[in-house]
Symmetry: C2
Amino acid sequence: MEFSSKILEQAVEAFAGLPGVGKKTALRHVLHLIKQGPKEMDAFMHAINQLKNNLKFCIKCHNISETEICTICSNSKRDSTTICLVQDFRDILAIESTGQYKGVYHVLGGLISPLDGIGPNELNINGLVEKVAAGGIKEIILALNATMEGETTSFFIFRKLAPFNVELSAIARGLAVGDELEYADEITLARSIANRVPFQTALKK
Amino acid sequence: MEFSSKILEQAVEAFAGLPGVGKKTALRHVLHLIKQGPKEMDAFMHAINQLKNNLKFCIKCHNISETEICTICSNSKRDSTTICLVQDFRDILAIESTGQYKGVYHVLGGLISPLDGIGPNELNINGLVEKVAAGGIKEIILALNATMEGETTSFFIFRKLAPFNVELSAIARGLAVGDELEYADEITLARSIANRVPFQTALKK
């Protein structure tokens, strides 16, 4: 695509840098902004400027936060002896929306993926080990994706934390609620049989 | 989705205002920007700021432009007696990329669509009528979408311009190059038969 205007081209390129946005979609976004007028553009710039200047990462759990310590870590009602290990901020949103978890989090910032050049040193693993070494942590819940990278990362962390006196658990893999047995893949089904739970436990929401 | 941070929420809402972007995609965009860091965010804001302050609409054809009169209207090599009427700027890009058209354009800014509350007065129709009334225009090519709204708008403009001594043409509707006859819909096929052209003309690229 060739644009008559350099300004337009730059704006399209900025939007095309977003994940999953190609040049055509980017142009659509830019034309939308132009149509909306200067007020909308100001609001857009203000929102990004706020992100840039006022958003921090919690020094304890690496969660996105407006303060040095995020609202979850600073909440005294939450159980700080249980840490749920997640890949990124979005997973915290997902778990928080269940309303089931009362502990705190630790955000890894990614998964080990040699193909993408992400090794253990690129992730917030050392911080987690230090937390555990400092004592006072009872349980670490590994809540990473059920993918190759997720399992590899879980295993790596499991080995790192094995020397310490801390309980390590992983979120259950099995049939999703609403799924039919017939259509489940063998690995999921095998795991859900191996990790079966007493029926009374299963009934609990 | 509930966010722990007001800043994050505002940014997600800004992105979710773009066409075809939902809250989940918006969050993905925002997290991408955060990951990229302040430099990327600055580039993003700069691009939008440029759009806001330095982008204008050509006073002659309403095309997006950096100057008062766009590069197409101010190009003396282009035939200013032929005007191609298009819905918006993207259509100019599409036509320009064919390299076949040497005239100038007129951007309507939309199509008549009573359901969306867009009537003739919301579009740049009067400007076109004035141009034609002023004289010196030989041909107007109606190049609007082959949709209900496009055809309605074309017909409205046809009636508006009928009293003037100007040739009115519409871009051809027919089988797209590469299409198979068997799968063409009846209306397209009927039109392509009714508007058949001498074979020598059809061969021309």
